[in-house]
Symmetry: C2
Subunit: 142 residues, 2 copies
């Protein structure tokens, strides 16, 4: 899908005191147009037109994550996936098909009681991760 806020990338980089380079703009564009979280490999593939170095890509992803422009997520595949952080992309969880690896967003989050329980146990700054895997309809039918 196309986004109308492509031009915001420049602004976002500026706000974070980051220089606007071709790679950075390309990565932001790719992630904002993706409909599911992408691995570094997948981003690389979509970067065909842009010349870049793998180390630089990882540095970019790390910087963006630290500046909260993107989020890294782990679905147990042994690599990180990255998602753009924008107003329309708030906190959520995923399910990944164990066969075709298709990823969907899941429309629920953990009950408040969980966090309350842990707070009661003295934990501070609690974060959680939750994800699902299963065989999707398509794969199951075939």
């Amino acid at each position: 899908m196309k986004h109308s806020h492509d031009h915001n990338f420049l602004e976002q980089l500026d706000n974070q005191g980051l220089k606007k380079t071709e790679l950075r703009l390309a990565v932001l564009k790719i992630l904002s147009e993706a409909n599911s979280p992408l691995s570094a490999d997948e981003i690389s593939q979509k970067l065909k037109k842009v010349s870049f170095d793998r180390a630089t890509l990882f540095r970019t992803l790390k910087t963006f994550t630290e500046k909260h422009l993107i989020s890294g997520i782990d679905l147990g595949e042994g690599c990180q996936r990255y998602e753009i952080n924008c107003v329309t992309h708030h906190h959520h969880h995923h399910i990944i098909c164990s066969q075709c690896k298709k990823i969907e967003i899941v429309p629920f989050c953990i009950p408040n009681e969980f966090k309350e329980f842990l707070t009661g146990r003295g934990y501070q700054e609690i974060t959680h991760r939750m994800d699902f895997s299963g065989i999707c309809v398509k794969c199951y039918k075939s």
Copy 2:
């Protein structure tokens, strides 16, 4: 803590058609005496008395996981941790302290509705992962 079913290790290996070697027995013993999931490194450290090879240890952990004698869990540290599977250790989730890395078991699991929702969406053989992190009381106080 000491367990009275140490002698079951031999039996468990037998049941799975696995040969009873010193390393395997030692790993089962270590994991059954551990009070939180151990990484391959931590298991290695506890194996001081037994001579072993790192590759063999990983092969052992893989075999045990496949035979469901142990479970591998990922708490986002970049390595797997392993827990013994026995009658007294059923499905559960963890919280890890983001500072001291102490791991505790959390006494709740996801609501049934989550799985039901996904089943309704056509997913089969659904599994989930859920874990927490936060600063534990001890670390917070210091």
